[in-house]
Symmetry: C2
Subunit: 336 residues, 2 copies
């Protein structure tokens, strides 16, 4: 299994570490021998048909901040690497952009057009164009997977898709963004919005520009991915009625708390409409989790309501989601 890894930030590097530490096990248990034949980041590309030395690559990146200069390195245009290097899978780990989805959008399209399966942990292209990307995958006979886009290492998408077979999910609601959930949880400890946001930044939970999180865009992107994949809806982020938690009053938080409730940034899909916004949730509701946790409750026709809770982010956790996608692609291609 030959892989082109596009983007070598936190997730990409953790994937390299995971592949190193699990290689014997992956071969023994799944008959899988993944080789990263090309790795691309903003500053260059390393290519080796025999498989890059991941230890080398990680060390180089750590020491110099670049991957070129690692053994077998070559300078290439990203698009050229994706299209011309022979590989079965392209893993897209560049940062999420919810305006036009670039550069991830072009990477995904090039990969699928040249017959490569794609694993994306980049939410941008999916939030903006899920229906047409799935169509492109089907047209080219390749698989498009994205387990790491929702819930980090928590297998929320797989749970809905695989564990509730034979049943029909009728709706779902959840906390899909850890940053805002951390801020809201801190506000219950009497911090103001600004103090809580500052605390989240200091702990590394919030980006320098927290807009995507606090205005609900990140949660909306995940909601769109779930609605398409789980409910078969054909929607994009433009179909989400979205609001965030900016400037939410400390008094409102405390008032909810007094009646046994928490204000949460809840993403809701009732099968027809999509909405993200601050909502009062009873403390005893399983979906009402604190800190950076994510939680989703699925309601099904026959098997009742089920909630799945886990950390919604983290480099190694997200890398483990990529590994699950790799195994699924292998299993599916193998079983044909």
């Amino acid at each position: 299994m030959r892989i082109i890894l596009v983007g070598f930030g936190v997730v990409g590097q953790n994937l390299a570490k995971l592949l190193l530490s699990r290689s014997a096990d992956l071969y023994g248990q799944y008959g899988m021998k993944p080789r990263i034949v090309a790795c691309v980041d903003r500053k260059g590309a390393a290519v080796s048909p025999a498989g890059l030395d991941l230890r080398d690559l990680l060390e180089k990146k750590k020491k110099t901040g670049r991957i070129v200069g690692a053994r077998n390195d070559t300078q290439f245009d990203v698009q050229q690497v994706i299209e011309n290097v022979e590989a079965e899978i392209v893993i897209e780990c560049t940062p999420t952009n919810l305006v036009d989805g670039e550069p991830g959008m072009s990477h995904l399209i090039s990969a699928m057009k040249t017959g490569k399966h794609v694993i994306s942990v980049n939410k941008g292209p999916l939030a903006l164009a899920f229906p047409s990307l799935i169509e492109l995958a089907n047209f080219n006979g390749v698989m498009l997977r994205f387990s790491g886009t929702v819930g980090g290492g928590t297998p929320i998408l797989e749970f809905a898709k695989r564990c509730l077979k034979g049943d029909r999910i009728t709706s779902f609601r959840g906390i899909l963004n850890g940053t805002t959930n951390y801020i809201l949880s801190k506000m219950e400890e009497r911090l103001t919005y600004d103090q809580a946001l500052k605390d989240a930044s200091e702990k590394g939970y919030a980006e320098a520009d927290p807009t995507l999180d606090v205005e609900g865009y990140d949660a909306a992107a995940k909601l769109v991915i779930m609605a398409n994949w789980i409910m078969g809806m054909k929607v994009t982020i433009r179909d989400v009625k979205r609001s965030g938690i900016v400037g939410i009053e400390q008094a409102a938080i405390m008032e909810a708390l007094e009646s046994g409730k928490s204000i949460k940034l809840l993403a809701v899909c009732d099968g027809r409409h999509l909405e993200v916004g601050a909502t009062e949730v009873p403390k005893l509701d399983p979906v009402c989790v604190n800190g950076t946790l994510n939680a989703v409750t699925f309601s099904s026709e026959h098997s009742g309501s089920q909630t799945i809770i886990g950390k919604g982010a983290g480099g190694m956790e997200t890398a483990s989601a990529i590994l699950r996608d790799m195994i699924e692609i292998r299993d599916s291609v193998f079983s044909k």
Copy 2:
């Protein structure tokens, strides 16, 4: 797909209803045409190679409490039906017996020895002899499935087995018994143990003889099934260090509550030891759910901790778990 249904109580009847209501959908979506060719309960057996009329069967049972007398009925010995009626799957829904596992144990063994796949919602045989039953299944080249034994309709076993592929679960802990969780939750509302037990009985959450629940046997049986299936341990209920919640003091409950904790009947597997007992759990821990809910937290090597929460019982919910097993068996046999 021909099915022998053994036991026609709440779960069996709900399965019949589910098959009736989903038949078009099951054929369309999964290419599955399940036919119940024999149905056995304590009082008799109805057999029809062409498939029993489930509407008839349900009506008969409702009116007379018996299934014989329904169209195509015949009197048979249970064991004979299981061994001699031609079918692909035996579904075992008789009551759980944790002393010797009977009559379920004999049903499972006969079914597998005559080359039939088995779906058991009966915990007894599995809690007492999981390792040897799995061996028997492998020896006879049949599948043994039991999704409904843990978590009712909540796909706890599937979640662990399917959604965390490529990762290694290192431990898990959970609330596996809804009856005791209801009693403990009520005690937090200042009821005594006896009052809470009485309330649970009146609401139909506790059996006339609540021993299996309140002394931790039911949770222990589920823990054993999970440890074998998920962790690959070879254990039986005799390997569980078990205690229950009988006579637990109201004062202890309130004391825990004051320090932000709840006393829960927790089942724990650390990969080597199995234990069921009353344990203090922080209120903010996702596994700390109230009422009749069940919850399990899995800890994995790379993808962190994940919690799954749902109703742990219910006739239709458990029937939906049987349906998931049927689909899995069909998929697996079909893909060979």
